[in-house]
Each structure stands twice: as C-alpha cells, then as structure tokens.
Amino acid sequence: MTMTCWETVNAYAFRALGHGERLLPREDFTLCQQFSLIGSGMIWNVYFGLLALLAGFFLATAVALGKNAASPWLRKPCEWFIFLFRGSPLFIQFFLAYEALVLLPRAGIEIFGLTVQTSWLSRAWAGALIVLFLNTAAYTAEIFHGALRSIPKGDLEAADAYGLTGWAKFRRIQWPTMLRLAWPAYTNEAIFLFHATTLVFFSGFPAFQQRGDALYYAKYFVDKTFNPFVPYPIVAFYFILLTLGLIWIFGRINARLNRHLPANTRVRLRLRPQIIR
C-alpha cells in the first residue's frame, strides 16, 4: 500500500497527539513521511516551549522581585531556587523530577475528602512541563533581577516626585523598564528553552503510545533506516524555522517596548547567548 504524499501528511500530521494512523511507518521511509511525522512531533516542542515560557514569565517576575527584596526571608529562598535550577543540568532535573513524581501514590491523594489523581503527573505532558516551567522561571528571574538593578536611578526618582508608590510605581515604572532592559537576553532564553524541549523524551520522560516530539520521531527513523544524515537535519530545519519565528515575534515586542524612545538610544535586539542551559 503506497500512499501519496498528501495522504501521508493527513495520516501523520497529528500522530504526535494520537490522531491519524496508529502505527508508525514501517516501510519506504520517504522524505514525505519523515517531514510529516517529525513535523507532527514539533507540536510537542512548541507546546512545552510556549506554555513553560508563558507560565515561567509570571513566576520569574515574582522571583526576581523576591531576590531584590530587603528581607532575607524572602530573598534567600529566591536565591536558592535560582541557584538550584541554573546550577544543575536540565536532564538531571528531569530525572529527579520523574523519580519523585512516580513515587506519588497511584491511587491518588485524599485531600479534604476529595481524591486527587496523581498518576498523570508522571506523564511527559505534565511532568516535563513542570520542570521546564521551573527551569525557565529560574533563568528568567536572573535576567529580570539584573534588569531591575539597572533601572536608571532618575526614573525611580521621577516616579517618587510624581507621588507614585507601591503597586502603581511598580506597574507603571519598574515593570515596563525592567522588561525593556531585559528583553534582548529574554529573547535568547526563549530560543534556548525551545531547544531544551528536545531533551524531554531524549533523556527525561518515557514516550506514551509512540507520541513524542520531533527528536523522538527523528530517532525512530534513524532506527529504521540506520541513516542519521536525513532525519536529524530535518529536525534542524524545523528548529531554524521556529527560531526565526521566535526572533521575529520577540523583535516586534521589543519594538513596542521601545516605541517611546528616540531611535538612537533604543536597546537593539542583539542576540547574545546570555542565558542558555
């Protein structure tokens, strides 16, 4: 049974989510099959990257403020959190998290008479997402903390002069300036977070019903064709596209953050690998 390329795309485009053909290709291993299935796996890379980035952004802001706090009760835990997640390799974090999550009781935990299911936590879609979320939050918090400390003194004095205090001062002065200063480094963090999602099924969590990410399917093809020179470059191709897309989106946001500044003093989006894992 040979399928046309369009049929192949239909059969495998959502295989990573469990839709379409149940069995992975077992013959031919055409470029069309490889592009469809590896592309399907990219859904998970985007899922992990996007959700971890969004959720991590808010936690990072909180942790950055905590690290900036005067009280050691607030500052110390934030410093430890950042040190732990920035100081250890991501794959060790995955391993330890997986080991911890499978220890949770299978039957669920009783809280206030309600049984809370826990078995889904050891699945990649939840467990790996939690690790990536905490990891990116730590890296981003460090970037935001650096930016908070480089807010020009004059801006804060001006805020005081206008009578802005507390939440209003933070929301209208500190937060926008922090974002503006941190944006170039944060762009890098986003790029490398997406790169890091390839580790989820590679060394972290098991693949369930052959639903995996781009690298998982690339490995499947290498395993079948014994030829590493086709599937891996396909993953690389998809990631270059993804990276270009990210750079474009973050560039637009950067332009918006800097729209009030005269053109020559803008923070140019210079991509420096400030933070990766």
Binding site: F83, L84, S88, L96, E99, A196, F226, I240, P273, I276
Partner: protein, 293 residues
Amino acid sequence: MFAYCSDPSQLDGLTWLSCYLTTGKHFDFYWSFVTVLTLLAVTAPAALAFGFAGAMAARAPFLPLRVIGKTYTAMVRGIPDIIFFLFFVIALDQGIEWIMHQVRCPDWSEPIRQGLEFRVCPEAKVPHGSAPQSVHRIYGAGLAVFTFALVFGAFVANVLSGAMAAVPRAQLETGESYGMSQGQVFRRILVPQMWVYALPGLSNLWMILLKATPLLFLLGVQDVVYWARELGGAKTSAFEYPHPDWRLWYFLVLLVFYLAMTKVSEIFLTRLQRRLSHGQATADGEAQRRAAA
C-alpha cells in the same frame, strides 16, 4: 582494593560498602570526573579561539569572509546542540577519513559509499584499525572537543562581536589620531578593552558549557553520566555486588558535583570581573576608582 574484599558475598554493612565503592568500575567513575574536567579545560580555550575567529570574520571588510562568519554563528545557534551532536560527529569522522583516503589511496577503485556503508582503504582509517584502544579513545575525545568547541565557538563569536561593538568609538579614534594602523588599533586598543564587556556573556557561556557536559556521552566519551547510569542500574547476582536500582543516589551525587562546580565558578568569575573592571571606563571601574580615592 582491600584484602578483605576478595569474597564480597560474605560481607555486609560498611565493609561491603567500602569494597563496593572501591571496585575497578567505581574508579572508572571517579576518573570520569577528571576526564570531564580535562575536556572542559581543553574545550574552553578552543571554543574561545573558534569564537575569536568567528567574530573577526563577521566584521571583516572582505565580504565572503563576513558571510562565512555570520552564517556560522547564525546556523549553529538556530539548531539545538543535541541535534547537532547526533549527526555531526559521524559526519566529521567520515570527512576526515575521506580526505585521508584521497591523499593516501589515490588508486583505490571501489566506491567509498556503498549504500549506507562508508568504506575507505585501510591506510586511511583514522586512527589505524590496529591502533591500541587508548589511541581510539583519545581520537574520540578529540572529535568531541572539536565539536563542542565548534558549537560553543558560535556563541562565543556572538558575545565577542557584541563586546567589540561596545568598546567606545572614541577610544579607537584616539588610537587612530595617534597614527596607529588599523591592525595596531585592533591589537592595542580594541582587544584589551573588549574583555570587560565580553566577560558577563562569557561567564554565562562557561556555565552553559559546564552543564552541557552530560551530552559528552552522545559523542562517545564515557563521562560521569554514563558511569552513574551504569553503576546505579539494578544489579542481579551476575555481578559481584548485587543491589537494587540506585540511580537516584548516583544522580544526586552528580547534582552536588554540578552545583559545587557552579558555585566555584561564580566566585572565581566575580573576582575576575572586578580585576578586569579596574581602570576601565565603565560604571564598575568608576566605582572602584571612587572607593580607592
């Protein structure tokens, strides 16, 4: 190791543990920490060299060179390092042997590629097939270092070009007004001053390189992770020291190792930053000047 270890099945408690922790396999594990540190010590300067060359190429006046420099950094950064490692080392190994083949066996008539097979004449094998295992190991480590340096060199190039651009224009113009040539300005003014701007980025890269070492196993180096996995896995009585799945403990040891390395690096790099800032036209350098005055 110890005399009483000759029959492990008769031992228990601490004596068992002392024998267990001193098996040949454990010494391989301990040595692998040294291997990782050695590879890091070799890779870091190599990556710096690649990065320096890349940064210089990216700002070269000669267009093709500039294109090469920029493509190099852009390409390597767009691809996750793990994907790069998975096929690059085999490609590199084959590339070297292909060149050796062209040089040493010009009369060879059989095709080098036979289907998926890659076959060069025996004289072109690197290292030679009959070479001792240690030579193969060193060659493998060499390939790994080269690949790591290539990937991290791209990041270093990025940091260095940023740093070169950050040196105040006035400094360079002053050099020119003293009658220095372009080369002299580059060597005497630009390079000495750029390091202070490059250091924060380079420190980050060092931390990243440190945490990327678990990927060494992908490149065929038996690193700390390989041995932790190997030793930690459950052992049946086919082994002298049977035990259940202890990977958790071994990985916790690795966690402590990496955290300690990070802490030491942080302390060292902070000091270096202060040394480099001394006498520089930056906020940090200014603060030091005021404190001393």
